[in-house]
Assembly symmetry: C2
Amino acid sequence: MREVAVIGIGMTKFGELWTKSLRDIFVEAAMAAIDDAKVDQIGSMYVGSMTPGLFVGQEHIGALMADYLGTPSIPAMRVESACCSGGMAFRAGFFEVASGHTDVVLVGGVEKMNDGADVTYALATAADQEYEVYQGVTFPGLYALIARAHMHAYGTTREQMAAVSVKNHHNGSLNERAQFPREVTVEQVLNATLVADPLTMLECSPVSDGAACAILAPLAIAKKLSMPVIKVIGTGAATDTLALHAREDLTTLKAVKLSAQSAYKMAGVKPTDVSLAEVHDCFSIAEICIVEELGFVEKGKGGPFTEQGHTALDGKIPVNTSGGLKSKGHPVGATGIAQVCEIVEQLRGAAGKRQVKDPKIGIAQNMGGSGASSVVHVFKKE
Amino acid sequence: MREVAVIGIGMTKFGELWTKSLRDIFVEAAMAAIDDAKVDQIGSMYVGSMTPGLFVGQEHIGALMADYLGTPSIPAMRVESACCSGGMAFRAGFFEVASGHTDVVLVGGVEKMNDGADVTYALATAADQEYEVYQGVTFPGLYALIARAHMHAYGTTREQMAAVSVKNHHNGSLNERAQFPREVTVEQVLNATLVADPLTMLECSPVSDGAACAILAPLAIAKKLSMPVIKVIGTGAATDTLALHAREDLTTLKAVKLSAQSAYKMAGVKPTDVSLAEVHDCFSIAEICIVEELGFVEKGKGGPFTEQGHTALDGKIPVNTSGGLKSKGHPVGATGIAQVCEIVEQLRGAAGKRQVKDPKIGIAQNMGGSGASSVVHVFKKE
């Protein structure tokens, strides 16, 4: 298997991008990544997107984006795995480069959620239609169940969950691409409109438009370029039951744990080797569960760990330095690639006010549904 | 790059499968493929499906199918490229095995089109929403434009196009999995209800439910099994403008030509080396264009070539021995993998009444939209 590196990144601002279409924002991010990589030819393309069919009535967006990017003949396909469509597109592109078949592969993600579709219905297609959605459950409801179970089993408090949002909004306030680049306080989080008890609006990631792209190439090509070389040293993916009620324990995100173990093993690293992580904080409780599953803290201690500041920009293990899904925004298909953009920027030492000190290894963890699929990538500065 | 072989195949009957759900039919095909391969562990999974979100309100079907297959932790993702979602899922799985990362990969395709959704709207999301669909064009209309252009440029006749349906229905009459396993005559085709002038109902592939799966493994594993070894010696994919009017020539399916050239090159074969082909006959005219683009006959001669019987079961180059999309059925996401099932069965010499004589090399060509994406795989009996 050939060694693979990320040689370019690019993304749009996340938010309500009313004046731009689905194809506009993908092309904007792709052109930024191509400019960053300084390559003149793309060999093939993977586009992560959850449900452009339901959001804007357009499927077949692999070919569409190849066309509008001005590369209308290259191989292109879309990858979908609900909210980890972007991360899975990255993984598929990684295999194509690693196999030796293709040198330069563009992996991207895009979603346009603010074009008038019924967003709650569209997102709910990531849950089990027959056993969850038809019964009336939505994603805030599913994560509220996880939150209540975590509070019951481990004594996690609402203040600890609110601390996730406070931290991520602080980080996002330093990120010009964030949808909500402003600070919030614990009190504001706790007193915001209740969406699904105990989760308030300030604990739920927003509805966003946006796109992000990265360019992959063999290590040999990356070394000839002027940028710091960022290697992809591990990929791990796993799945779990689609329906939350079918799991042994509501507080365990098994797919996250297994995907991390698999990525760590391939990379030959331990959780303590990791300098920073972007994780899938679709709801505040998700980040608490994930820092546990990634092995940054023992099971059940994610709440206090966060409240004590260990995941802050200057903490033991900075988590979601970009602002995360909560503050940066969550255009679902784009999120997994936007995480990669942040990790690469940090490892390059180019993250400006958000820069963590001298990071060596970063990970990106992207998740679909209520944790039914998860993908983890490990990056290392050469 | 490791050499890759197909070690198992399985599919459902295609048709109106009212008593089975999306997950039921995928699992049925996957279990058949697993039984055929006699493997006890699957390393990862790719599920091709065009738009389960619009057809049955369910996305995230990679994880869903892994769960219902009884393998709820393996990596799984969905691949979409309109009607060539299945073929693209095969390609993505091929790269994972070829890279050396994973040994046994299940690649499948599934679609449930008869569950009450607006099928014409759902399929139209494969065309360009902004420049085609909003103007009222549907797929029968787009292929009718191609047919008229081909008739004008090359003198192709309605009888020659009808000959595609007659041949494919004959082949399908020998296939117990076909949705419409019965013969039709040229007169019946020409006198059937006009769908989009000049295409009649018997020149349009039907609305189908169905699933198909194949299992990929490195050559070294395939050689240890008792079945004939069927190697994947070439993969090629390409794209074209999504909108038909944006192309230089309506009768040229550039993505088909480029994907074939790329697959032939990788395989080291010429069109004259090919023993049989499964191609994407979504409409009669499509097969005529495709046999030209694949290099079986020169440009413009696809009509007479078909009418003269050169693509029949006992012709120079048998095309769509399975019955093709027209007679076997076209559950869009499943089609690309069902083509692989037919080629593997033929190369194994296990195609029963449809068996062509001693085939050595077979190709599967799967297409999306009005030819905006195409993928070709070349198979060789070891």
